[in-house]
Symmetry: C3
Subunit: 266 residues, 3 copies
């Protein structure tokens, strides 16, 4: 039997909003460690990894490891029916082919239960080793979302270049070119407004803006985002989920033989 009670139910609502456009169907894996998901996007280009650790739940009962195949769009429809202050409980009986989401209003005057069918989904779980990155940028998540949105009005790809002084986001399109430079800045009033660069060596990599803009749907989960870059690895765009875990997006850089061919590649 599975019974996971999450007091801050809005977190689960936000998680679904963050990934439902990227991934159609996926397995949620429940174990003693926590509630997790790993899935490729529908075009098999980007990877999402979610972890909500068991300690973050008010009540966490998972008698045996189970994998629940879920259509994320349908799950999102159900979670949208939960109030932002509601407590959400996820329940599944052993061997059952359904999962139930229960929503309790803070005053306990309104109790909803939504039941949905589970699906059989083939999936392979990729081991993602911890890796060394050439550069790690931590910056306000809203600023990153703004930059990706702005650049997408000009071009289709973004070149992210990191030096000790700052990080540069560049694009080019039919109407012209754009460069946005953020300087390293650690002396801010609020720590979440800092832009912090850890760099082992300079790096400059190109990514499809379409995916970056999809990842930024997780912006409401965290005030900051961490972007880990290496020329030999997919970029990791990570949003921490307060005291519970994270949502991480992985995307391989585009290989550019000639800079002028940037645009048609997308």
């Amino acid at each position: 039997m599975l019974e996971l009670r999450l007091v801050q139910g809005s977190l689960l609502k936000k998680v679904l909003e963050a990934i439902k456009d990227l991934v159609n169907d996926a397995n949620f894996d429940c174990s003693a460690t926590g509630f997790s998901l790993q899935a490729m996007d529908s075009s098999h280009v980007a990877l999402v990894a979610l972890l909500l650790r068991s300690e973050g739940f008010e009540h966490y009962r998972c008698d045996r490891n189970i994998s629940m195949g879920i259509n994320l769009n349908n799950m999102s429809k159900m979670l949208r029916c939960a109030g932002n202050d509601d407590i959400i409980t996820i329940k599944a009986d052993d061997g059952s082919d359904t999962v139930t989401f229960m929503f309790e209003s803070p005053t306990q005057d309104k109790i909803s239960d939504f039941e949905m069918k589970l699906m059989d989904i083939d999936s392979e779980h990729l081991g993602i080793p911890e890796a060394e990155y050439h550069a790690i940028v931590r910056m306000p998540s809203a600023e990153f979302a703004r930059i990706c949105k702005d650049l997408a009005s000009i071009g289709d790809t973004v070149v992210i270049s990191v030096t000790k002084e700052g990080v540069k986001f560049s694009t080019r399109g039919d109407i012209g070119t754009a460069n946005i430079v953020l300087r390293q800045n650690t002396t801010v009033d609020k720590p979440e407004e800092a832009t912090i660069i850890e760099m082992n060596e300079p790096v400059s990599l190109t990514f499809a803006l379409r995916y970056m803009n999809s990842f930024t749907k997780a912006t409401s989960l965290s005030n900051t985002v961490t972007i880990s870059l290496s020329s030999e690895l997919p970029v990791v765009v990570e949003y921490k989920i307060a005291e519970m875990g994270y949502i991480r997006f992985y995307l391989a850089p585009k290989i550019e033989e000639d800079e002028d061919e940037t645009k048609p590649q997308v």
Copy 2:
């Protein structure tokens, strides 16, 4: 001659927004009692009844009973041109085929008059007798609107079941099932937040969510909604209009021979 001056003109704006999508053309009936309307929706399934009592108007002159045939969408277009704080006066000369809406801004610096053609509309006025209901639920109107909207994302019909403990709203659809239970709750800080159930006998009835969601367009008229249920009568969904009258929606329950056929009936 007809001249009705309504200081809180926004009420009339809200009334039109509440009914214009349900009813295309209707007769507004003016008498010494008040300004009223009774009309079937365009598919002849639901009935709307509106009453604005003469005492609620600052000035109410109606020399003889008249019936004004009006296209509600056009009337709504004109009322949208009134400011929310404007005083609205409805004027019609005897025998005239037009009606004039005059809007006065609170400072009297802006005076608008909008004139529209009246129409001849055949209509039969149904006598609606006062009736005994099995159960009457009074609840916050915004909560009722939220429930109808949420359930419509899952299914097409709602089963409303009332017991002494509470009222349950249920639906089922392709993606699963949903049950929302509101408990009777009279000990709230603000009386309009109460959920109050008067019950003579338990009742469980099925309605098309499409109509319920249409009725909830009246939500801005009142903080509370009253739902009167009986297995032999159409449900009445009533929004009181402060110190003036009401808007009531009537809808016959769906007869279900087999629960599994709920969905295709809509």
Copy 3:
């Protein structure tokens, strides 16, 4: 070389939003006097004239008069990437076929530069002589925008009639007629809420609402709008840009042989 630094960059963003739907391509003219534009709308009915005086810029360097042909929609896309508090600098090298817009955030932590190609645009510069008008109306710009929007829901043209007592805006359409009268009003708490009429002789002129509604996209640039009317001249709808200049829209009145033919003329 051209280098114009505008501390209140949001002004330039608003200017572009105000004119980009009316004019596709236009020449921005830079001289020692200021940064200006004069262009006909794409259907050659209305004229826009913009002036941002050099004194309004923090830094204004314009070595020689130049004319920069720009697609306004593309320029608007780039300016939308500037924050509302950003400082905007416009730069162009002598003989270059590109212009650069630089955006600096207030904290200087984010510096963006957007470069776009210039175009060759044929344009004739009309001399617009100062003229005497029969009547000049100054009124709150938001009220003018509201009136034009409201009337457009009823008809296609507006008759603006000015007398000493006030200004009347009228329209007629399939669903009826509308008249909105604003009284002269100079005794208001805030000067920008006044409606002030300077009249030499009464005037009544007809204009296409489509253009008027397009002009009101400049509403965010100024709290007030000035409408200058004469039976022999195009109307001038002017929005002052605080301490820098103005944006003026010119539109010829419609000649009405028969009032009943008002509608099909548009």
